[in-house]
Symmetry: C2
Subunit: 221 residues, 2 copies
């Protein structure tokens, strides 16, 4: 012990501890940066209970197959065919739980193939959007509306928001460094304490940036 009360560590010992702390809390690239995990959402469908039953039978309940990154959300065993005026996609993922209104989230590439002019919207904002048909082995429903291109957004808790210096509904810029680096502007922050920190982009955006799995973006503004 020395008289100052400080720990008597060699430089090597100190460096070892620093390295352990860094290794525990962040990757090398993250040090001093506001990093956010990026997740690419493939085309998918949310169903209201009425449409669940029209497609899969009276009283049918969606069957969870795998938990998603946001707590309570899950990929279902059920799949549907999505049919537009100019094209269709088979075996499209259904995400649970059932919602108050059915909604189809596609990329612009998908929308062109389907032949629908899907607008860029926040999830749930389906007023005056195009519809299409959903088909299962057991039935078919016509959606009068609900086809959107989902606006990119970041899920985070209020403590994430405090740490990152942002607020609910704020628009921020996120840079993703790949061989095809891109900054997404006007990314919507969505704060809820049940969320896990993740930025959601669609497959057009993921392909435009050449997103590798496990990628992170940096909150730059």
């Amino acid at each position: 012990m020395n008289t100052s009360g400080a720990l008597n560590l060699s430089e090597d010992q100190l460096q070892l501890i620093i390295n352990q702390v860094i290794g525990e809390y962040c990757t090398d690239a993250d040090v001093g940066k506001k990093m956010i995990p990026i997740e690419a959402s493939a085309r998918h469908v949310h169903l209201c209970q009425k449409d669940v039953e029209a497609l899969f039978g009276e009283g049918h309940q969606l069957t969870p197959k795998r938990e998603l990154s946001q707590p309570g959300q899950y990929l279902c065993e059920e799949r549907v065919t999505v049919i537009g005026p100019q094209g269709s996609f088979k075996h499209v993922a259904v995400l649970g739980p059932a919602r108050s209104e059915s909604q189809v989230e596609v990329s612009r590439t998908d929308a062109r193939q389907l032949g629908v002019d899907a607008p860029l919207r926040e999830s749930g904002d389906t007023a005056a959007t195009p519809g299409l048909f959903l088909l299962s082995d057991n039935g078919m429903v016509q959606l009068k509306q609900g086809v959107i291109v989902a606006r990119n957004h970041i899920h985070m808790t209020s403590s994430d928001a405090a740490r990152l210096g942002v607020q609910d509904k704020q628009e921020v810029d996120v840079k993703i460094e790949t061989d095809r680096p891109v900054t997404f502007h006007k990314v919507l922050v969505r704060v809820k304490d049940s969320f896990n920190l993740a930025m959601h982009i669609d497959f057009d955006e993921a392909n435009a940036v050449g997103l590798p799995s496990g990628a992170k973006g940096e909150l730059v503004a």
Copy 2:
């Protein structure tokens, strides 16, 4: 005339002249900015003369249908089917004139559908890239290599480069303002006095930014 030698213009007259000059040289949004027209390239094929003849007959010459933005480049009457291990695209555009080597330019979305792992490359840099099959009504060729995702780039003349303050092979940042604004980083500048000023991006990038026709991007760094 007044004694100072200045033109005796009313404020209204002056504003009219200013508006005419602005209207002539730039759109309102362009004033004081380094704006670049953006063009989205759909999937397409360049063919060597040997492959032209294998697909369309001995001695066949590509038939220009429409001039493209870069002088001397044209869309051909000829179309091909592109066949990969997991999917194919019919009626794919062939761009002329014939090149020394055949090359297929696809988006990452296309590459996934074809089932080929096409790398991000500059046009012409096809070493160690995957191949696939090209089919016409008259024949088929197997490309041993040549499938790429084209790296985004800006064509410009040396006087454009001087005006914009950039050089050949420089990497720059271009911001495109839409309802889904994006900055593309590391965009390659290509200077040749026969070029027309235009930034070329692929359909993944165009869809990610929700590119309207006639869009421009701003050179921001």
